[in-house]
């Protein structure tokens, strides 16, 4: 097994891979990909490396882990905690709802046009994050929003019941607007990969639909479902624009904390700011890594 994510056997033999070509040609190939590497170094890897380096730098120079030790401070921990809570909640709820909707459009017996309608809408909604989404929710469920007003007509004051759009519950509701569609988009191909023969074989052996799901479909789908939920986790964990537009940047979230640190050293310690940023990169890196491992595992069955 090769280590690449998607092996391409057609080009994998060494003669085509340039192994036996003259050195001059080899150099030519490298020149073809050089701009990409230089560019990535300047605008993706460079910025990450400088943050990594600065996060390890003490106030008087020299390398130290002090900044990472200070991550345990209350400000940082409450921001990380809230980010993780919101990301977990929206990943699990969004994952379950997205899975249900994907299942309904792929094999629930709805008319065919609903499927392409759903995928196109999901493509739109999963990219509809940021300011416009926050604005739409302010007009819907904000203090004077249309739905808030509708509730008042029925004698319910939403904001008296403890609900607020600018709270954990509100942010969760808003984030689900891009989380659910992302789940639908990623999980639909996996559901399509369930082979009809498996269901027929199970039914021929006398399995009930429940048994089929419990013993065949879910075990095959599980890596995809878990992997996509982890992808959703990262998607929400790194989100900044929506929360910024909704709360003006003053809510306890890791991304908003970094934003405040950029505008003015709110942590009163630049080094700690770099460590907070690197902590996010590490958490995101782990979630993407687990996602790609699980995705590769699910490809074994769902091709």
């Amino acid at each position: 097994m090769t280590t690449s994510l998607q092996p391409t056997p057609r080009f994998a033999d060494p003669a085509l891979a340039g192994a036996r070509r003259p050195a001059r040609l080899q150099l030519g190939y490298w020149l073809g990909v050089l701009p990409f590497f230089v560019f990535s170094g300047l605008f993706l890897i460079g910025p990450a490396l400088i943050l990594a380096y600065r996060s390890l730098e003490g106030p008087e120079g020299g390398l130290t882990l002090d900044n990472y030790r200070q991550l345990a401070s209350e400000t940082v921990m409450s921001a990380y905690g809230m980010s993780i809570r919101i990301s977990l909640t929206t990943a699990i709820i969004g994952g379950l709802i997205g899975f249900l909707v994907a299942w309904v459009v792929s094999m629930g017996g709805l008319p065919r046009p609903f499927r392409s309608l759903t995928t196109t809408f999901s493509g739109v909604a999963s990219n509809f994050a940021g300011v416009p989404l926050a604005a739409a929710y302010i007009f819907t469920l904000g203090r004077v929003g249309v739905i808030t007003a509708l509730f008042e007509v029925f004698g319910i004051d939403l904001y008296r019941t403890g609900f607020s759009l600018y709270s954990f519950a509100g942010l969760t509701l808003v984030y689900l607007y891009f989380q659910v569609p992302l789940m639908i988009l990623v999980i639909l191909p996996a559901l399509d990969g369930l082979k009809r023969e498996w269901r027929e074989a199970a039914e021929n052996l006398g399995a009930t639909p429940l048994q089929y799901w419990r013993h065949v479909a879910l075990p095959v789908l599980m890596p995809s479902i878990l992997g996509t939920m982890i992808l959703l986790f990262g998607n929400s964990f790194g989100a900044h624009a929506t929360a910024y537009a909704l709360t003006g940047g003053f809510f306890t979230l890791a991304t908003l904390l970094i934003g405040q640190q950029i505008s003015g050293d709110v942590l009163h310690n630049p080094g700690l700011g770099y460590a907070v940023a690197m902590g996010m990169v590490i958490i995101m890196g782990f979630s993407i890594l687990i996602y790609s491992i699980l995705q590769r595992r699910s490809e074994r069955w769902l091709r």
């Binding site: 080009f11 073809g32 709805l110 027929e200």
Partner: protein, 277 residues
Amino acid sequence: MTITTTPAPLAAKAAAAGTPARKNRFWSWLIYVAGAVYFLTPLAATFYWSLRAEKGKLGFEAYRRLFAETDFLPAFSESLVNAVAAILLSLLLIVPTAYWVTLRLPKLRPVVEFITLLPFVIPAVVLVFGLLRLYSRPPLLLTATYDSSRVLLVCVYAALSFPYMFRAVDNGLRAMDVRALTEAAQSLGAGWPTILLQVIFPNLRVALLSGALLTFAIVIGELTIALFMAQHTLGPYMADLTRSKVYEPSAMALVAFALTWAAMGMIAYISRERRQP
């Protein structure tokens, strides 16, 4: 085919299963309608709000006021130019790289795939943090003037598009026989620029357009990076508008939604056209 292999008991069961199937369909509709209500309510509510800008009657006054705002169209056109520049830059970088990696340097594939995933690993707010630290002092001073910051912004947007662009181009390259096309072109005496521009690019049309439109949807209203680089683009402008005006932001949210819908609808349209030649 499946009918002939279906054993008699199963066929009988399927025929008798009219009621459960209808029951299943009921649940399907219920779930679907619940989802539709969740997704359409904010749009409907925002639309209703946007119609109420004039006292006492419903109308499109909010939209008229939005387009009459002095800063709206400049911010929009600036974002438009940035998006187009970022898309072109991204294409220029990704197409040759994906082509070379597919054809000549397959060993580099995992590395390239890893790098194109980096925008998912580094959140935008962290990326801009690093960029400001890297480019705000000599020898790499790029944030000194508005225009140099803008160049930096376009470069970052191009980098943000890598995950989408690389995957789109890579899928496109897999769908055709790159090697045969390349060798055919070479045997006819074409050089590398000709091969890329006249053979590979045209065959990748659909993939490139999808990647470009997706990039457009992501970049056109981008807030975080533009905000911290103090750029007067659509994202920061919309955030300001949301805080300062009452009705215009609702019109703006729906215009943004329509723009995203247009980009995604075009992707769906061109990729469907390709599947039925």
